[in-house]
Symmetry: C2
Subunit: 322 residues, 2 copies
DNA sequence: CCATTTATTCTCTAAATGAGTATAATTTGG
DNA sequence: CCAAATTATACTCATTTAGAGAATAAATGG
């Protein structure tokens, strides 16, 4: 799953007319001080990216080269996210097609020294409504809910109103529904559709009452970031990827705080420990933490062997033994 | 998740030199007569595909257009699979880069009449080792195991031998391990690496003792098909996508047989029923089947409402209530 | 009517999950 | 040095879910 790439098709006449510009773009994630952060460039409002060039051996190596050049950061774990190609989601129009192939990279924030243009930034700067670690953030009730209600009311008649309202309610957990932390992309797309994010209004006249929600990014980078967050929030649940973000040795609490930072939710401490233990994902290093107050915690390391042993979780289909 | 696309990047000088040819390629799946089949073109050894052109509104609409033109088949549900760009996996070398953006489409085999070049073909023709509905297929013990052992033995020394053997054992369930039906792509890649599939030997001199395993496809289409099968086998477990493959009304057994066809494994009938029922995925139509022997089965239909109600399964993180 | 076939419902046990409570090992303020 | 305070770790208990199979129901074909 971590290394897929290849060209295809048999000798078809090269259709130069349709050739496209291909960009590689990276969502590089680290967690430091209980804050999930993303690697940015420029005015801290762009993801590292660059064109896929003839010199690149593969998509992945092209991506690594660009990120390293632009941020000085070397990537470890990466996986492909999604390939975008909409014309209408970019401000300017061009004659030529642009394809963006996005990747998710997991890393630790330290790594390589020296002065560089790299800037880590909490992803909740861009998505303030996504952090529910201390309850639902006020921005939802104060800003988003009223605005979304207005957007629902744009519709004249009932079935259409209800459809909009239901979508909003599912995405944000209104009407007593549960908050679902995985719906990052749906929420962003809804806000985009309701024109509650700055980038949705770029083509139009500057409306001073907007924008309102979070820091925006250039082009559609915020959408790509949303895609990455959604993927990661989903993936930590069934694959041991959190450990890519951890130092070599860590305590249970540190691990828990990392998961909480990513998912934007608090987890139940004893049950979290039980979950990790029963899956045998970690082993004791023998050391304990010294620096803290309270009872010192044992240090653990990730059991890399699990990557070989059980490639994947379990079934979920009620298989028959026959 | 079903409709994502967009262009990116701010005004960077168009780097014509690096422009790439972009192909769209479809894994179109249907299940008929308990056989999972894939839509092919050409000599029934190619997936429908075509270049992404300026006239296409989006990647998805371009894909739909090509499939419709080449097969006369109209697509319903589609989702993006993966974007490939390896140079070394295609027979011929070219100066220009080729990007293949692949999609998975789910449909029903009937649909549109008239003469057409479309051909449905069981995916097990291409992956005979993947069908475990009547136990492990003989090809594994008879052909693959000995060949893989020889491949393991190519390595001179122990740690390297062990590493190869462990990979094979995990992928194919040797050494008393369980068969994991989701590892379709890993298995294919392993066979490719061990040169046990025809396409792995295309650059080299024709070795008569090979090829051996399944029907091959042009270029890297078989790899893309493997990617699609793997995705589908994984996805049916946590999202109600099987219903895209079912007729409007169906019995529990038909539904079960469809799941079995896709996963290549038999499921436990009462527990399968319980699973579907407790998730309230279906409702009775009121009719029953007439044509069969034995007790007539009730007919059910998919409750489309579930797509709105619960967008997604559940948590899997031990959340705290606070 | 009886054997056969398929459908549907139950039962029972073992695991996994959710939610707390209890106990252990430290540090820190007096 | 002792009593909070603080964090870590271990247990408990009820509830749900999953795995495996038995029992019952409703047809068909003689």
């Amino acid at each position: 799953m971590q290394d897929q790439t290849a060209a295809t098709r048999k000798g078809r006449p090269p259709a130069k007319a349709h050739d496209a510009h291909v960009d590689l773009i990276a969502v590089v994630v680290a967690v430091t001080d209980q804050e999930p952060s993303v690697l940015t460039v420029g005015q801290a409002n762009a993801l590292p990216s660059g064109p896929f060039e003839l010199g690149h051996r593969s998509l992945q190596s092209g991506l690594r080269a660009w990120v390293e050049q632009q941020t000085g950061h070397q990537l470890g774990y990466i996986e492909q996210l999604y390939t975008f190609a909409d014309r209408d989601r970019i401000g300017e129009q061009r004659q030529q097609r642009v394809i963006s192939i996005s990747y998710l990279a997991l890393t630790r924030a330290e790594h390589a020294a020296g002065p560089s243009k790299r800037a880590w930034r909490s992803w909740y700067d861009f998505f303030p409504w996504e952090d529910h670690r201390s309850g639902a953030p006020p921005v939802i009730a104060d800003t988003l809910l009223p605005r979304l209600l207005a957007w629902v009311d744009e519709r004249d008649h009932d079935p259409l109103k209800r459809e909009r309202w239901q979508r909003a309610a599912i995405a944000f957990g209104f009407d007593g529904r549960d908050w679902n932390e995985e719906l990052v992309l749906q929420r962003y797309e809804l806000l985009y559709e309701a024109a509650l994010v700055e980038e949705a209004t770029r083509g139009s006249e500057p409306n001073k009452s907007l924008p309102i929600s979070g820091i925006s990014m250039i082009a559609d980078h915020r959408r790509i970031l949303a895609t990455g967050i959604a993927r990661l929030r989903s993936k930590i649940k069934y694959r041991p990827v959190v450990f890519e973000l951890m130092p070599p040795a860590f305590t249970f609490l540190q691990l828990q705080r990392t998961v909480e930072a990513l998912s934007g939710r608090l987890v139940h401490k004893p049950n979290f420990r039980r979950l990790i233990e029963q899956q045998e994902l970690v082993e004791e290093t023998g050391e304990t933490t010294a620096d803290t107050v309270g009872r010192p915690a044992k240090l653990f390391r990730f059991r890399h062997a699990v990557l070989d042993e059980r490639v994947v979780a379990g079934t979920k289909l009620p298989l028959s033994r026959a």
